[in-house]
Symmetry: D3
Subunit: 61 residues, 6 copies
């Protein structure tokens, strides 16, 4: 524990995901969570599966 | 805010997802949520990843 | 199936949740999902548990 | 890893949650997942926050 | 209801998913949930989308 | 977008949640996500609702 689930548009590189995992982990260690205790799950969502303001992100982007 | 996550079997068209996003957004606006505040995330789940009544949906369908 | 999870600030009335469930269900029936097949789960999130733009919603509201 | 999230109506006892955690963990160990690797998160949902077939579970129950 | 969401590394076979669904369902029936009431959703997560202990699982595996 | 969901044991202070939101937001801005685009939802989970290694966290803690 804890578990962090990230939902974001697909298209990020593995390098960017590495940076996310490092930065989020650092943040949790600063409030006392040991880094071994943290799981982070990234879900890549296609823009045609993401709605905002009543429209698909694939239509507005 | 709010965030709506939809888990459903894969196979819906982009047109159907557009209808879902429009209809769900309309519903929230009727209780006073501005449409810009609403995010909707659709996760397409293969039938062999969906269990119901003790069986995979890919077996029973 | 499908399953819809709604994350929103706590404070909505049962009447408003009823309207959400009715409206979201109508939307799914219009793309061919029978209403018996739809589950909707609402999670009431306190504003001090919701971050936006780098701040808790309880600070900015 | 893995992470299992259970959404269910509130009202289950701690004893029943213990049984769920034991049974789900056994199931994962039988496909080769070490029990130390498994996290299970239970979310108790009030019936007035659960919609099914277009109605709140608190109305139909 | 209930709904169970499983997040795990991709790579499991359909046979293993079948075993998971059967075992998890059995567990719920033992606390009185009818098997028809249970939905289980499996999300296959690539290792480069799973962070643990500050690193992507694809780096450490 | 993106949406980050944090599942963690209940008991963290509002001050610690503020730190989490700031740190996670900083991390996303470093890969180019504007802070206004980021929503973070924190779910406080009681230890008797969290299973690890086949036991409830409330038993082992």
């Amino acid at each position: 524990m804890p578990v962090v689930i990230v939902e974001m548009w697909e298209g990020r590189t593995v390098e960017q995901k590495k940076q996310l995992v490092e930065g989020i982990t650092d943040t949790f260690t600063r409030i006392g969570v040991p880094k071994e205790a943290l799981h982070i799950i990234i879900q890549d969502i296609p823009k045609h599966n993401w709605g905002h303001a009543g429209r698909l992100a694939s239509e507005t982007d």
